[in-house]
Amino acid sequence: MIRVVLPAHLRTLAHIDGEVKLDVTGAVTQRAVLDALEAAYPTLRGTIRDHLTQQRRAFVRFFACQEDLSHESPDAPLPEAVVKGMEPFLVVAAIAGG
């Protein structure tokens, strides 16, 4: 199972309590995880990446295993610890005021 941690406002939007656990078939990449996440929670479509371009939204970052994966290819394999469910894939909203 792939573990995904979402920022609080997206958990509220999608009525998610705690971590999300996803079955991802095939190669475990950012794209595969986000595809599975959006399939499970259609409300999240467009809130993490753009509907059309699939680009990560500007104020969102992806972290795992204490690394910033935001600028990795969406098709690059995620770390083994994420694949094995030992570490979560973190969707992080920028810290910002206002």
Partner: protein, 371 residues
């Protein structure tokens, strides 16, 4: 017994204010969608329990919410707004071409007859329609495809389509307004559009009488006279008696003709309201006195309405979608401020009281009159 429901969109969530027909005591619910910008909420005239809300944030983009029970519960619906065909370019602030890109929904206008049909005015300016209660959205491309589209420029708040007026007497006629392109009208259900800006004079653009480029802040009509339009422009309050074919200035004795809102009394088509704001550089009331101005003659002759409003040290703004009118016999007028107050007058503006004082900055106010 009649009651009213006031829908308030703020910088950090939505609030629903309800009262009986006396409009003296209010229940406040919210924040709904806490932490998100709620640009606009509006109820269907055909089914007052059907509400739509535009929820957005810089982090997570656009969400559209729908309620089928008058705002007790909500569900997210479709949030994909894809321009038809090649998006093309409009002008950027410096006059260079800039790609059209979706930012947010400024205004939601439900159909007058079908609760499942709703229009959305978006930034970068375009008009979308949903015929399935917000699940999917399709652009009405004839507007953005009007030959002037590449010459539209954003106002300071963005290139936003913020006003949608549906003609109750003609389902094929709609009016929209864009900052800073101007006003447009369709007579064929949205297939084709024409600019309706003749008579507008804007000194801040190279050709002050240009076909497009005017910063229209808001338009309003009375449903009994849909050919008569009122407009608060960046500067100037305007009136058209021929569905926008031409405009005349009606600023008259206003202390300043800058402002954002304009609205019309529910039962008196010649009684109109504005909130004068000092200038485009100083977005607060003149002299620090918050005053609504009312004309009972369709413009030019205005009276200040200040009873119950702060008359010293008031430096709030009233944004373009933040005034609404109910249709009770004694017409109620409502507006919200960037200071978080929502004021109500149950007697057409003669007396005012705050319903709430300390909300986040108010972006929009709508009211539903319920039987």
């Amino acid at each position: 017994m009649s009651s009213v429901r006031v829908l308030v969109g703020t910088h950090k969530g939505a609030f629903v204010l309800t009262s009986d027909g006396k409009r003296e005591r209010w229940d406040v619910s919210g924040p709904h969608f806490a932490g998100w910008e709620i640009y606009h909420m509006k109820g269907s005239p055909a089914d007052p329990n059907r509400l739509y809300a535009s929820q957005c944030s810089g982090w997570s983009g656009q969400v559209i919410q729908r309620s089928n029970d008058g705002g007790k519960t909500w569900e997210p619906v479709g949030n994909q707004f894809a321009y038809e065909g090649e998006a093309g370019t409009h002008q950027w602030y410096d006059g260079t071409p800039h790609p059209w890109a979706f930012k947010r929904v400024w205004h939601l206008e439900p159909s007058l007859t079908d609760p499942d049909t709703v229009y959305a005015g978006i930034e970068d300016a375009a008009l979308f329609r949903s015929a399935d209660a917000g699940q999917t959205w399709q652009e009405l491309p004839g507007l953005r495809g009007h030959g002037s589209g590449p010459r539209w420029q954003p106002g300071a708040g963005g290139l936003c389509l913020h006003t949608i007026l549906l003609d109750p007497s003609d389902p094929n006629r709609m009016f929209i307004a864009i900052s800073a392109a101007g006003a447009f009208r369709t007579d064929d259900g949205g297939k084709t559009w024409r600019p309706i800006n003749r008579g507008l004079h804007s000194q801040y653009i190279p050709d002050p009488m240009a076909e497009v480029g005017h910063c229209v802040h808001r338009m309003a009509m009375h449903r009994s006279r849909p050919g008569v339009l009122f407009m608060q422009k960046h500067w100037d309050v305007m009136r058209s008696d021929n569905a926008g074919d031409s405009w005349q200035e009606i600023s008259g004795n206003l202390p300043t003709d800058f402002g954002f809102v304009v609205d019309v009394h529910a039962h008196e088509p010649e009684t109109i309201y504005v909130v004068p704001i000092k200038s485009d550089g100083e977005h607060y009331p003149p002299e620090g006195k918050l005053r609504v101005y009312r004309s009972r003659k369709g413009g030019n002759e205005w009276e200040a309405l200040s009873d119950g409003l702060p008359q010293s040290n008031c430096y709030v703004n009233v944004l373009r979608d933040a005034m609404a009118i109910d249709s009770l016999d004694s017409c109620g007028v409502y507006f919200g401020t960037t200071g978080g107050q929502v004021y109500a007058s149950p007697d057409a503006g003669d007396h005012w009281m705050p319903i709430v004082r300390d909300l986040p900055a108010v972006l929009s106010v709508e009211v539903q009159t319920l039987q």
